[in-house]
């Protein structure tokens, strides 16, 4: 653990706001590519997929923060909120791309949410993320106290739903979505590894949300 102390103290000096900037720039750049013909033959699908993937990556990144601290002593806690909110941002534009640019009609949007299981599952994941996004601020953390920690455990089912959504939407038996689902399930399962008695130095600071 001591090995990572310099890294941790260096990270303490890195601000979290660049995460937001990068998310906005990446999303905007993809959209610009789409508008200017840089996303190939089917820009709507490409954009929808790219936003969905970014959301999934960030979901996984967010789930890595706690295990990295617990098992490797790397402290990325101060970036967790930014990662979570960036994730929510990408899932939101993923949903909007689908509804506005792809399906294009409200009645069909609704019909798809109700009728197509992979959409229903993705939507369930999105709905679970909503209260988490809304309460990702210091005020909510203070107001909710221990309830906040409990509430934010919703990210586990949300992530699993996101992974299942990906497995369901591809045709045939494809490896990639299964690998992602396995990673998500593994990261969630790590939460249930029983704790040993003693905690190491370096990691004793109380977790900040």
């Amino acid at each position: 653990m001591a090995l990572l102390d310099p890294v941790n103290s260096a990270l303490r000096r890195v601000p979290a706001w660049p995460v937001y900037i990068c998310a906005l720039l990446y999303a905007g750049w993809l959209f610009w590519l789409g508008v200017t013909g840089g996303l190939g033959a089917d820009p709507v699908k490409k954009l929808e997929h790219a936003y969905g993937e970014a959301g999934l990556y960030l979901l996984i990144a967010g789930l890595c923060v706690t295990p990295l601290r617990r098992f490797a002593g790397l402290n990325l806690m101060k970036f967790r909120r930014a990662i979570g909110l960036a994730c929510f941002f990408f899932i939101t534009v993923h949903l909007l791309t689908w509804a506005v640019l792809d399906v294009q009609r409200l009645d069909r949007v609704w019909a798809d949410i109700v009728k197509r299981p992979y959409i229903t599952v993705g939507m369930a994941g999105f709905v679970l993320l909503l209260p988490l996004a809304v309460t990702s601020n210091n005020w909510s953390v203070r107001r909710l106290g221990p309830l906040w920690t409990k509430l934010h455990k919703l990210v586990y089912p949300a992530a699993i739903l996101g992974g299942v959504h990906y497995v369901m939407l591809v045709k045939g038996w494809q490896v990639r979505p299964l690998v992602f689902l396995a990673i998500v399930v593994f990261l969630v399962a790590l939460r249930y590894v029983p704790r040993r008695r003693s905690r190491q130095a370096g990691t004793t600071r109380v977790a900040r949300p």
Partner: protein
């Protein structure tokens, strides 16, 4: 038997270099009514603006080369298409292995500009070059007991990176009822835009059945078998609930994953409106009779 169906657009409209490079003119030519003698399919010539060569040859589903839309264009160059031969067997008078050149020497290649509709709810318009499948089957001599035609794609693990994974039960197989196979709209395509068909589009010869979802139009065919019984088809084997034997384009029968009521038209950009999908992909007048009396929600 060739030329049993006529396009609303003519050869010149698509293959003439100048016109090929200038789609405006192509539309103008079409609007002026060039070759409107075509059978009255509902789509007007103006609707059938061919998708660009670039899009037709870069956006493909050919899972033997990977499941990504751009994988076929990236990897299909590895496929050896010369020499090529097609085994024609089953209930035919002259079974055997037919060399590609020998087939081409006997067939009349014509241009067919068809709508192409994928089950994933996107569509293109492709100016194919090819010959009628009926001509090929007649060359081999269809016997009276034959009711179906089975097709098989090449399986070359050395050349096809995608078959290392069990996405489907390889080799890819497809099938048609004999009357569907003999229909004048059904062709074996060997070219696009007047050029040899690129590997990613199914070189050297592939089936094109324009009123069915794209996956029925099997690529890089090595075997054609005339059978008495309905042959197995790959997507139906993989997921019988979602993919039927017929797989006719039908806006009223939804796939569990995609509404089939409308489609995204490839090449029209990020903000394009979806287009309503037509019954039998716009070829209802030509093929509707094949399915008279059948319950299309059951025989999907």
């Amino acid at each position: 038997m060739a030329y049993r169906w006529k396009n609303d657009l003519t050869d010149r409209d698509v293959t003439d270099e100048a016109v090929y490079l200038n789609r405006r003119q192509l539309l103008a030519g079409a609007a002026a009514g060039v070759g409107l003698a075509g059978i009255g399919s509902r789509a007007t010539a103006a609707e059938l603006e061919p998708t660009s060569w670039e899009d037709v040859t870069s956006y493909n589903n050919y899972y033997e080369f990977g499941t990504g839309k751009d994988d076929p264009a990236k990897y299909a160059h590895r496929l050896t298409v010369e020499p090529w031969s097609v085994q024609i067997d089953g209930l035919v008078d002259s079974p055997g292995s037919y060399a590609f050149e020998d087939i081409m020497a006997k067939m009349t290649v014509e241009e067919r500009i068809y709508r192409f509709r994928c089950v994933e709810a996107w569509s293109m318009v492709v100016p194919w070059n090819g010959f009628e499948l009926a001509d090929l089957l007649e060359m081999a001599g269809v016997q009276s007991g034959a009711k179906y035609v089975a097709f098989e794609t090449a399986l070359r693990p050395d050349e096809m990176p995608g078959v290392a994974r069990p996405v489907l039960d390889w080799p890819y197989v497809e099938g048609l009822r004999l009357d569907e196979a003999m229909h004048p709209l059904t062709i074996m395509a060997t070219g696009i835009y007047g050029r040899d068909i690129p590997n990613q589009n199914g070189a050297p010869l592939r089936l094109v059945v324009p009123w069915k979802y794209g996956f029925k139009s099997i690529k890089s065919i090595v075997r054609i078998t005339l059978t008495e019984d309905e042959p197995p088809t790959s997507w139906n084997k993989a997921n019988p609930r979602e993919y039927g034997f017929y797989s006719n384009v039908n806006p009223e029968v939804d796939h569990p994953r995609w509404s089939q009521a409308s489609e995204r038209v490839i090449g029209t950009g990020l903000f394009a409106r979806r287009q309503d999908t037509l019954m039998f992909n716009g070829y209802a007048d030509e093929v509707g009779a094949l399915y008279a009396g059948m319950d299309l929600t059951k025989n999907f």
